[in-house]
């Protein structure tokens, strides 16, 4: 699978691009502000009416979904992904065995949105007229509003599937450039309208939920039409980009010029640059490229007080506390990020996946720690626990030849019988190397040598690549689960190295115990992986899912379990969040996380920047 610069992500992007080419008919409104040297993109990747290509009550594209076909085999529809159109023969057994679910017991979603379920809009007519006069695109359409009333938390999607709609924005507005945003914010202040910025809509922190207590008109500010790369500076390796651009478009367009940002969060197909900044996102390849805070050079944000930005593009400054850090992670409470100058890198010459099998999770963690100590982490290194390894295996597509299955059998025999690994304890690290060919091979050897010291065996590129695929399809899989009484969610944390093992064990066990105590009949899936390594600790990602058949209020049970799991994380020295953010879901722990004084500081910034609470999504504080 070693191929120059052909990651699965990029493969996928190409297919997606092909698909979207035909939709270029939806034209971007020409922005009035002239930007010198800008080359407006050829197409509008995200249409205003997103529901035309994306699910209104689930994850991702409408044409891509998992289902169990008539033969009871799992398949993935569509043409966008490597898995698309393939049969996954072992998924059914894994699914039934893990959750005690049955294909006989279906829990289908409401097929269409019933407009009667949606509360009528609470319009601020003067504001709407002002917008019209300013020539900014607006919609009062029910579907448009509902689409922007949620992120992808389990409770949000579950409610949609049941056809339950809570408070939704009263209108949607699509600025097409920075000055449009300035106008909208100014008008919102004048007319006292609540604005909620909306980028990719992939939030998993209840950040997009409209506060129930909000009595003003709520307008969703959709940044998707601000999606141009305004300039690329090859001397300094920076690019100036409008913040509404989504990850895959940014990457594809830079690739065309021979560059990349290297920022690849798992949600990059849908999430936006502005959203990354507002939540302090982290990308899979941060070991080479850094997290979002390392990647941004300059940020422009429109606040009710005016525009905040720095005066130059210097790479580092000592000018008091970095004002960027008021913006990074502000979660839409202070304003709208409109333009960002980002570092870019030439596309790496060579890329290679890899994997290592360890006899148990402890050995795996010890190896990752050593890799971090020696500061030789590849672009990405992740360690899946045994459950997740088996989960990954269930997603193996049908093997095409006798030979492949024979080789698979041999490998399994070698690892479990010859090397004596217990199939119920072994775990797998997946690796991604990037750079010039010679160095990648050298680097690879270094990492495998370290792994060998911890009992690790190289287990091939294929296992590695499949590991990464899991993170892209997991959200689609959740929709499949919800068709059969299985609900699940993921959450993450960051924790010092010496506590990684304890935290993983305790949180997983807490989930199992809480589910049992709350009447969940079948033991839940409770699994984790170490997804990022740092000098002083690691990022740990958990999945948990359970069969909710027989529970009268499954969402409530789920929320209690998730709450307990977060308490357990905090008690074990983990952070409130590594990259998902706080939103409204984790707000209650903010004070204990950053201290009363810390919270007060943030509040006083909010007080100064937005005294009218125009950006009233009530996240974070």
């Amino acid at each position: 699978m070693a191929s120059s610069s052909n990651s699965s992500a990029q493969n996928r992007l190409r297919i997606i691009a092909g698909h979207l080419e035909s939709r270029a008919g939806v034209a971007a409104q020409e922005c009035k502000a002239e930007v010198p040297g800008s080359s407006p993109s050829r197409l509008t990747p995200v249409p205003k009416r997103r529901q035309e290509i994306m699910k209104w009550n689930g994850w991702g594209y409408s044409d891509s979904r998992f289902l169990f076909n008539k033969k009871g085999q799992a398949e993935f529809t569509g043409k966008r992904y490597r898995l698309s159109g393939l049969i996954l023969p072992s998924l059914k057994d894994w699914f039934e065995g893990t959750f005690g679910a049955s294909l006989q017991h279906k829990s289908p979603a409401a097929p269409t949105l019933s407009s009667s379920a949606v509360p009528p809009p609470n319009m601020n007519e003067p504001f709407m007229e002002d917008l019209k006069a300013a020539g900014i695109a607006v919609s009062r359409d029910t579907e448009d509003r509902v689409f922007r009333a949620h992120g992808h938390c389990l409770h949000e999607i579950f409610a949609l599937r049941e056809g339950r709609i809570g408070r939704v924005p009263d209108a949607v507005v699509w600025p097409s450039c920075h000055s449009d945003v300035e106008k909208i914010v100014e008008l919102a202040c004048k007319r006292d309208v609540c604005l909620i910025p909306y980028g990719g809509g992939t939030s998993v922190s209840s950040a997009l939920e409209c506060p129930r207590e909000e009595t003003r008109s709520i307008v969703s500010l959709d940044t998707s039409q601000m999606n141009r790369i305004l300039w690329v500076d090859e001397k300094n390796l920076t690019a100036h980009v409008e913040a509404g651009i989504i990850g895959q478009d940014l990457e594809r367009q830079l690739n065309e010029r021979g560059y990349c940002t290297g920022h690849e969060p798992d949600s990059m197909e849908f999430s936006s640059l502005g959203g990354w900044v507002a939540t302090r996102a982290s990308g899979m390849k941060k070991n080479i490229y850094g997290n979002i805070e390392d990647l941004v050079v300059h940020i422009k944000m429109v606040t009710p007080r005016g525009v905040i930005e720095k005066s130059c593009l210097g790479p580092r400054m000592s000018t008091g506390p970095d004002v960027h850090h008021f913006i990074l992670g502000s979660e839409g409470t202070l304003g709208v990020v409109t333009e960002v100058t980002m570092k870019i890198r030439p596309i790496p010459e060579y890329q290679k996946y890899g994997s290592v099998v360890f006899p148990n999770f402890q050995q795996g963690v010890a190896c990752l720690r050593e890799v971090a100590r020696q500061r030789c982490a590849p672009a990405s290194i992740r360690l899946m626990d045994n459950d997740q390894f088996q989960f990954g295996h269930a997603l193996k597509p049908q093997v095409s030849s006798m030979f492949t299955s024979f080789v698979d059998g041999l490998k399994k025999f070698y690892i479990t019988k010859f090397k004596g690994f217990d199939p119920h304890h072994l775990c797998v690290a997946t690796l991604l190397f990037e750079g010039d060919r010679g160095k990648v091979l050298q680097h690879e050897k270094q990492v495998y040598d370290i792994a060998a010291k911890f009992g690790g065996l190289a287990a091939g590129e294929d296992n590695g690549q499949r590991g990464y695929m899991l993170t892209f399809v997991i959200a689609y899989l959740r929709d499949l689960g919800m068709d059969y009484y299985v609900m699940g969610e993921s959450f993450e944390t960051s924790v010092p190295w010496d506590r990684v093992l304890d935290l993983c064990r305790n949180v997983k066990e807490r989930i199992v115990r809480e589910c049992k105590e709350r009447g969940v009949q079948f033991p839940p899936l409770s699994t984790c992986r170490v997804t990022q390594t740092y000098d002083a600790g690691a990022c740990v990602y958990f999945y948990f899912a359970f069969n909710y058949r027989g529970l009268s209020d499954p969402v409530h049970v789920y929320e209690q379990v998730e709450h307990a799991a977060r308490e357990e994380i905090l008690a074990n020295g983990g952070s409130l969040s590594h990259h998902h953010g706080v939103g409204k879901l984790r707000k209650e722990w903010m004070k204990e996380s950053v201290s009363g004084v810390g919270l007060g500081m943030l509040k006083s910034v909010k007080e100064y920047v937005d005294p009218q609470n125009i950006f009233g999504n009530r996240n974070l504080l």
């Binding site: 010496d498 304890d502 305790n506 807490r510 008690a571 020295g573």
Partner: protein
């Protein structure tokens, strides 16, 4: 409040207790040798990290915690870290157990023989065993048996072997080490040895705590230790120590294990092997130093009948649920976990509270034999009772005890008279029965050549032995008895609930070293005792008043006389301090001096209560006076002296005697 319901139901009457099986029954009908050699396959902890006893040492010595302390000690003392490591290694060698199955098998064989001779039956609640089997698999387990006899931990290991449970490692005092052979045998059956005091020795503490924690974290074996710290010589539970409890809870607080299960175990004996030994010890005849030859002499005990024995395995208590809402585990987030940290005030409070509640659970699950009731009655009637009266009163007391929640093992389908005569037969060494009249064995004083002092001591041995059986049931009576005394004290003045409570609270404070009274539970204890007495019909409790009901006289009188020896004892101690101490008193002279004082009173016929001679009571009284700041300890050089505030001591004595009402202003003045 929530965690309390885990292991202490509010109304003891409603408590459901398990049934017992006699484990000796099978032993009497099959080969002990084959039994000792049978296949032993214990259920194991699911997170077990398998390791040999010898590997433990390496793990402990290389642990971050110990390495840290070694460096610290070496930089403070200037010794090389190799030296300090060497020292740590020595400490560990001295401490470590060397659990061996073969030794256990040897013990199983010999103990089977011994137990069959000593005991009529050894009864174990098998449901408790099943719960333990479950608990052992899920989380590391800590066994917390009560401690009344040397037998306790042999018996524990024996039972665990019997039920295919993992054999425990047992924290024992260093005193056994002087018995060379026995010490090594015990070591090989899982005992590890701790010095009795090592206050400031950082290194010792680090080795010790890391050793215990390593075994706990790895699930090496259940840890067993005695919350009370030492054998109770009086059969009353002792105020629990929290040091080891903290050590076994810390891995949970620091997130190193998901949970720890604490299993209180109550071991009760119908007749205690060390019965008269304890009494002598309390009277100041020094305890013979543990020696192998001494133990051999004790062979004599093998020919006697010690009745039956009960072992009750309580419900496992999860430290996690216990600590929920009380301990914030985040407090450890900001310091690397291998750096030792003194427990926070919050944690200390939690520990004390937990320790008290665990001991209370031990008490509540302690099986009481009919003899306990008889002993109580005989002590209250020094001139003895007719058998028929005794039968009547025992029956009455039995109902009272049951109403107050006692866990009484009263044989079904047997007449009261028969039960009593069995009990009397078993304890005939303490009694004299003639002409249908039973009396504590005190008449011997007419024997030849005894000084009056010796006679008093002989009598006191019998009284204290007998009192130790009565003490077994005190935990049932103590709260209602405190109410009864408080009511009696305030009866002349007022029936106001507040006044009764004040007096109750004063007494409760006074006796809090004497009995297990959970700190901070004063109001609850009061309400509960009132409730039980009202239910029994002895009291009428309204919102503001407490009145004794006509039918309650006998109950309340009885309860008052239960506490009487303690009230008198404390008064004597107070009187001694007021009358005889001039300026100050060396602490080490306190007990002999009080004993002499009491002896003189008894000889002069001014005191009838022999229990005053008990050093345990004297120590507890001193602890109370120190706590109430009527006496202060002053350290001068190597010696500790006691400084007595005579006014305060005097007024405490008066309050105890009910001469002055216990009102707040007086308390405040102290």
């Amino acid at each position: 409040m929530s965690s309390r319901s885990l292991y202490s139901s509010r109304h003891p009457m409603l408590k459901k207790r398990d049934d017992f099986e006699d484990i000796l029954e099978e032993r009497r009908s099959s080969s002990d040798l084959r039994y000792a050699l049978r296949c032993y396959t214990p259920t194991l902890y699911k997170g077990l990290v398998p390791c040999k006893a010898s590997m433990l040492k390496t793990i402990v010595l290389q642990s971050d915690h110990l390495q840290h302390v070694i460096k610290q000690v070496s930089s403070e003392s200037g010794e090389s870290s190799e030296c300090v490591t060497e020292e740590a290694s020595h400490i560990l060698d001295e401490m470590a157990h060397r659990l061996q199955l073969s030794t256990i098998r040897f013990f199983v064989f010999t103990l089977s023989k011994a137990f069959k001779r000593l005991f009529r039956s050894v009864c174990v609640n098998e449901e408790g065993i099943q719960r333990l089997q479950q608990a052992v698999q899920e989380h590391p387990v800590v066994l917390l048996p009560s401690h009344r006899s040397y037998m306790d931990f042999l018996m524990m290991s024996y039972i665990l072997y019997m039920y295919d449970l993992p054999l425990p490692v047992i924290a024992s005092g260093m005193d056994f080490m002087s018995m060379k052979f026995i010490g090594e045998m015990l070591r090989m059956s899982g005992a590890f040895f701790i010095r009795r005091s090592f206050g400031g020795d950082k290194l010792y503490w680090a080795v010790f705590s890391e050793y215990v924690k390593t075994m706990l974290r790895n699930g090496y074996a259940p840890i067993e230790f005695f919350l009370e710290g030492t054998r109770s010589r009086t059969c009353k539970s002792l105020t629990p120590k929290t040091g080891l409890l903290n050590i076994v809870m810390e891995p949970f607080f620091r997130g190193e294990v998901f949970d720890v299960n604490l299993v209180p175990v109550s071991i009760s004996y119908e007749r205690i092997l060390e019965e008269s030994l304890y009494a002598r010890e309390l009277l100041g005849v020094p305890k013979p130093k543990e020696s192998t030859s001494g133990l051999l002499k004790a062979r004599r005990v093998l020919s006697e009948d010690y009745g039956s024995m009960h072992v009750y395995f309580g419900h496992p208590v999860s430290v996690r649920s216990l600590a929920e809402g009380k301990v914030n585990r985040c407090q450890h987030n900001l310091l690397p976990r291998h750096i030792p940290q003194k427990p926070s005030t919050e944690n200390l409070e939690f520990l004390t509270d937990a320790a008290f509640r665990l001991v209370r659970t031990q008490e509540e699950n302690m099986v009481l034999k009919p003899w306990v009731l008889i002993a109580t009655l005989l002590l209250q009637n020094p001139d003895g009772l007719d058998l028929s009266t005794l039968a009547k009163q025992t029956d009455w007391l039995r109902h009272l005890a049951l109403a107050l929640g006692a866990f009484l093992d009263w044989p079904d389908h047997e007449s009261c008279a028969r039960v009593i005569s069995c009990s009397l037969a078993l304890h005939r060494n303490l009694l004299s029965v003639s002409d249908e009249h039973v009396q504590l064995n005190v008449a011997d004083s007419t024997q030849v050549e005894t000084t009056p002092e010796e006679a008093v001591f002989q009598r006191a041995v019998v009284v204290l032995s007998c009192a130790s059986y009565r003490n077994e049931i005190l935990h049932v009576f103590v709260r209602p008895a405190l109410v009864a005394v408080a009511l009696q004290r305030s009866a002349e003045n007022s029936h106001r609930k507040d006044d009764v409570y004040n007096c109750f609270n004063f007494l409760r404070n006074m006796f809090s070293s004497e009995f297990i009274l959970c700190p901070g539970d004063s109001v609850q204890d009061f309400e509960e005792a009132c409730y039980l007495l009202a239910k029994r019909g002895a009291l009428q409790v309204s919102e503001h008043e407490i009145v004794m009901s006509a039918s309650g006289q006998s109950t309340l009188t009885f309860l008052c006389s239960v506490l009487e020896p303690f009230v008198q004892g404390y008064q004597v101690v107070c009187r001694y301090l007021c009358e005889n101490v001039l300026e100050k008193l060396l602490e080490k002279d306190f007990i002999p001096a009080v004993r002499n004082f009491a002896l003189k009173l008894i000889l002069a016929g001014r005191l009838k209560c022999y229990e005053v001679l008990s050093s345990d009571l004297q120590k507890n009284a001193l602890a109370a006076l120190l706590r109430l700041k009527a006496v202060r300890k002053v350290k001068v050089g190597d010696q500790t002296t006691l400084k007595v505030n005579k006014i305060a001591v005097n007024s405490l004595e008066d309050m105890l005697g009910g001469k002055i009402p216990t009102q707040k202003p007086i308390l405040a003045r102290l």
